[in-house]
């Protein structure tokens, strides 16, 4: 046993002689996590990262057998599920982890928002985070099409069609996304390239920036702690306390994934992702076309808008509205002056509550009305 410790120290010295990491290690060793009523939310960033790592691993495994293209995508996914050893498991975990990752990302983002963790000096962290959210959603959108089944085909048709509704640049964006005027095999190839190469590369960069910023700046403390004497603030060391707890949580999350994959390989009603039948561009659309749940609120809002508002197409107003909301969301650290000064910003809390309730409400409506 002593030899394991000795070997470890020898290894550390060898690396330190070449990379000079002693200072870095002692700096990281001093990392602390604030302990307060909302501490639990500190885990959600890590959980998002965990599910992302699962996606990378299962994604690489799926890459061994998946073949993009209208002639082969569906058949290769069927092959993975039916013929490859544990293929059903890898695929089911990939589908579930995708959805859980996005769920964790939303909870993480809203917890950051409500605790105003975006305030100075963490504006850049917020910006990179919003970028990561966009990437996650794009991951989901592009990945959904890859099985080239009826479900995905029509959801993608509707989704890219909405991009086309944007004035001036819409048509160009839509054609760029689709690789053609319509959703075809070219779209699958394009989305595949995005999903396995472009998006992972950009995510790696942005994620690295995000994590470095967090390590450099430490965990954000609640607004209420501004002006509190140091002795009253409670902390927990990151190493090993928080890390052990984090690992425990990740372990349990992995088990949950496995249970979901075995018992609900194709989702839980109403969130289904059966493989279904192969996409046929010439067949009539099914009775129910649905986007993934994380797009449902936007989809439902656009559906509820009247066809015309003051002679402008309703859908356009909707897209414009969402764009404005998105812009606000991105710029929140710079708009919220009170938080920057270390004061409570009740207005922004209310805005956040309205946003959350709107999104949840529209999502429920979207499923209830079908």
């Amino acid at each position: 046993m002593a030899s394991i410790k000795e070997t470890g120290e020898k290894l550390f010295d060898w690396i330190d002689e070449r990379l000079k990491i002693k200072d870095l290690v002692s700096y990281m060793g001093g990392k602390v996590v604030p302990r307060h009523g909302h501490s639990i939310f500190y885990y959600f960033g890590g959980l998002s990262l965990f599910f992302f790592i699962v996606q990378v691993v299962t994604g690489i495994l799926l890459l061994l057998y998946y073949r993009p293209g209208a002639d082969s995508a569906y058949e290769s996914v069927k092959f993975i599920i039916a013929k490859v050893s544990f293929g059903w498991l890898i695929r089911a975990i990939h589908s579930w982890s995708a959805n859980l990752m996005i769920l964790m990302v939303f909870i993480h983002m809203f917890s950051v928002y409500f605790t105003k963790a975006y305030r100075k000096p963490r504006e850049l962290t917020w910006l990179s985070g919003v970028g990561l959210l966009g990437l996650a959603l794009f991951f989901g959108f592009s990945g959904y099409l890859l099985p080239w089944n009826e479900l995905a085909f029509f959801a993608t048709k509707v989704g890219t069609g909405m991009a086309g509704a944007v004035p001036f640049v819409g048509k160009f964006i839509m054609t760029l996304m689709r690789g053609s005027d319509e959703v075809t095999g070219a779209t699958v190839t394009r989305f595949f390239g995005l999903h396995v190469a472009v998006l992972p590369a950009v995510t790696t960069v942005l994620l690295t920036i995000h994590l470095i910023l967090i390590q450099r700046q430490g965990m954000s403390e609640p607004v209420e702690w501004e002006g509190m004497p140091e002795s009253q603030k409670k902390y927990m060391p990151f190493f090993p306390n928080f890390l052990l707890r984090d690992l425990l949580l990740w372990l349990i999350a992995l088990n949950v994934l496995a249970i979901l994959a075995v018992f609900f390989p194709y989702g839980i009603s109403p969130f289904h992702w059966d493989l279904g039948i192969k996409a046929d561009p010439f067949a009539p659309p099914p009775l129910v076309i649905r986007p993934e749940w994380y797009f449902m609120f936007a989809f439902q809002t656009l559906k509820l808008l009247p066809a015309e508002i003051f002679h402008i197409e309703g859908e356009l107003i909707g897209i414009f509205g969402f764009s404005l909301a998105g812009l606000f969301w991105v710029l929140v650290p710079f708009l919220d002056r009170e938080s920057a000064r270390g004061q409570k910003a009740k207005k922004f809390t209310y805005i956040g509550l309205v946003a959350v309730m709107f999104m949840i409400g529209m999502t429920i409506l979207g499923y209830y009305l079908k």
Partner: protein, 414 residues
């Protein structure tokens, strides 16, 4: 002057009226008969839907006489008047045009012109020549003044309607009494495979009375003919039968091919229970156990093997269905099941060779494939449970590890 004018006018009007009358009197038959006949089934009313009228023909073209006259007495005396023919004369009446190739070419060159010749060879025709006016003539089947094209569903001789048309007489036991033939054909036919297909599903690919009996040369197929009749559609069964030991045996025994086992009108969907030596089977009607009776053994052996295949197919089908319900992927196995079913269908046809050597290879093939598919099915079901077992083991490992980590946390924080 004034009087001259008036009389000229009067004569002019009268003359013009007369000439108007003459142009309008092109077909006085229809005009008067429409006015004077009563009831919905009046010939003139029915004639509006008739195929001859569509061809531009009218009353006088069949019944003769001068269509411009409106006085019945004058009409009867006019040249060429035939009037309504007597029952015994009806076939010749229609054949006047319908057996005349030159005449029919003008209207429909594709229409046959041998109906009358055929009719003369038929049961109906022969009896009519001998003076029996109860039998069917042209108008009994085709109707008389509202004759429609046979391809139109409202025609009395549209395939779906033919059984009903024939049964007007042939199901009437009082009417048919002098002839001594059964009157249950329609009732039987309606319950048969062919009857249900034709009458209920309106599938005109199924045979109506005329497809087996002929339409104008209607005769029940003779003992020798019946196989040829059935064999028109059921070609494979007929050819297998011809090469089988039954062919000679049936000929010698004077037994009707096909009909002996399958009946003629009440042909039910053949059941596997028809084959074999159990009570209720068809084979047992002739074959009994004994050294002379190779047929008995063959029947028993074929029936056993066929039942085996049916059983194996069901086993395989059930387990694959179960696997599918459990959410497992079963594409290849479902495909194999199709092949098993094809084997079964082919085997049932091969029964008609009445030889174990001919049927055994197909049955063995089917049984082998069904058994293999069943084995694959059990493998899939096993995989289903293996997944849950694997999950259980993984959960136990993770739970233990989680417990240990929790203990570590407790330890570290002391």
């Amino acid at each position: 002057m004034k009087r001259m004018l008036i009389s000229v006018l009067f004569i002019g009007v009268a003359m013009s009226l007369g000439s108007v009358n003459r142009t309008m009197a092109a077909d006085q038959c229809i005009t008067c008969h429409l006015e004077w006949e009563e009831g919905a089934n009046a010939p003139s009313k029915l004639f509006q839907a008739d195929i001859h009228r569509e061809a531009g023909l009218s009353c006088a073209d069949c019944h003769g006489g001068d269509p411009s006259l409106d006085d019945m007495d004058k009409v009867r005396q006019s040249k060429g008047y035939i009037g309504a023919p007597k029952t015994a004369q009806i076939p010749q009446f229609c054949a006047r045009c319908h057996s005349d190739a030159t005449y029919m070419k003008k209207y429909n060159p594709a229409l046959p012109i041998d109906q009358f010749d055929k009719y003369k060879t038929s049961m109906h025709g022969k009896l009519l020549i001998n003076g029996d006016v109860k039998v069917a003539t042209c108008i009994s089947c085709h109707s008389v003044h509202d004759i429609r094209n046979a391809k139109i569903p409202t025609s009395t001789v549209y395939p779906v309607n033919i059984p009903k048309t024939c049964s007007h007489c042939h199901s009437d036991s009082t009417y048919m009494k002098p002839y001594g033939i059964p009157t249950d054909q329609y009732a039987n036919f309606a319950q048969s495979v062919h009857g249900i297909a034709l009458l209920q599903k309106e599938d005109i690919g199924a045979p109506a009375c005329n497809d087996c009996h002929g339409n104008h040369g209607a005769t029940p197929p003779g003992v020798d003919d019946i196989a040829a009749v059935c064999g028109v559609c059921h070609a494979k069964n007929a050819s297998l039968f011809d090469q089988s030991p039954h062919k000679k045996a049936f000929e010698e025994g004077g037994m009707k091919q096909c009909e002996t086992c399958h009946s003629n009108h009440l042909i039910k969907t053949p059941a596997d229970s028809m084959l074999g030596v159990a009570p209720g089977s068809v084979c047992a009607d002739c074959h009994s156990q004994g050294e002379q009776n190779k047929g008995y053994e063959t029947a028993a052996a074929m029936s056993l093997l066929l039942d085996s295949l049916v059983h194996e197919e069901k086993k395989a089908s059930d387990i694959i269905g179960d696997a599918e319900k459990k959410g497992m992927a079963v594409d290849d196995e479902a495909f194999a099941l199709k092949d098993v079913h094809t084997s079964l269908v082919e085997s049932r046809t091969l029964v008609h060779a009445f030889s174990l050597d001919k049927i055994k290879p197909e049955l063995d093939k089917g049984i082998k494939l069904a058994a293999a598919t069943y084995t694959q099915g059990t493998g899939i079901i096993d995989d289903y449970y293996f997944r849950r077992k694997g999950l259980g083991i993984a959960t136990i490992i993770i739970t233990l590890l989680a417990l240990l980590i929790w203990l570590k946390i407790r330890q570290v924080e002391k």
